[in-house]
Symmetry: C2
Subunit: 166 residues, 2 copies
């Protein structure tokens, strides 16, 4: 199922829906050059095959009152698989942690956090994150301003690469 290769129309569909997830199916069909029914069938197939994981409204965090965004680099004491999983599950349970990625190099995890204000984040940092077992070190960096925040993947790069390997 995951081995199913995509044709150019499928990739165009994904690119269009990544750019505008609420596009109507008829508009999508028009843009990719087929009629509506097969277009919808393709979308359903892409969803079921996992290429499309979901659709989300992109909300303005600052306007909603989330004025603080922080990247936290976390080092653990033990990197045993069970301990890594324990920490990951803890991150999944913390609403302020939006992303958690395991890294190579000196630091073990990078966390992207959002909070309404600094004191809310400080509380989380000192009472939850730093107090969690197995956490050895945490370095935090406040986001002064966001310069770019594009969703998803650059399909342009894929197309380029398709040509090179074709």
């Amino acid at each position: 199922m995951s081995g199913t290769r995509l044709d150019p129309i499928d990739r165009k569909i994904l690119a269009e829906l990544q750019a505008d997830g609420r596009m109507t199916n008829v508009e999508l069909a028009r843009r990719v050059g087929i009629s509506a029914p097969p277009c919808l069938r393709r979308v359903r197939t892409l969803e079921e095959a996992g290429y499309i994981k979901g659709y989300h409204a992109d909300v303005d965090a600052r306007e909603l009152g989330f004025e603080v965004q922080v990247f936290a680099m976390v080092g653990l004491q033990s990197q045993a698989e069970a301990d890594l999983v324990t920490f990951e599950n803890r991150c999944r349970a913390w609403p302020l942690v939006r992303e958690c990625h395991m890294l190579n190099g000196e630091v073990d995890f990078i966390l992207k956090c959002v909070a309404p204000d600094l004191s809310t984040f400080q509380s989380f940092l000192t009472e939850d994150l730093l107090r969690a077992e197995n956490v050895a070190s945490v370095k935090t960096s406040l986001v002064i301003r966001g310069a770019k925040d594009d969703p998803g993947v650059p399909f342009e790069v894929l197309e380029e690469r398709m040509m090179r390997t074709a």
Copy 2:
């Protein structure tokens, strides 16, 4: 317009659309407890006021062939505003760079990058990023595995905070 406070129904709408951006308006109206027309009016207002910046399909990067994800910490030589803006604009033009945030602390920017493979990323790193003027240092960390990647903001935290300040 940005001073417009949101009532509980608006926040519920935003939370629902963040969770499922393709929800039909009638379903959305049912969930927030009003009828369809006023619900649609609210959605349009939220869009125009900038609370909703867009809708995007969440595509599976790995299944699509983007197997490399990297965080890059960038230090600049000059932090003069004009030089910061120049670097930010350069990031906006690089498709492999999906996010660019200016940070406090030792490092100036954090970049989240995606690439089809390591060699594509290495080419970008050595030929574009490291060669860009004003770039003093770049530390990269490969994402070994992703543990959490939730879109948007935690509305639960907002509701909690509303109660505290009410």
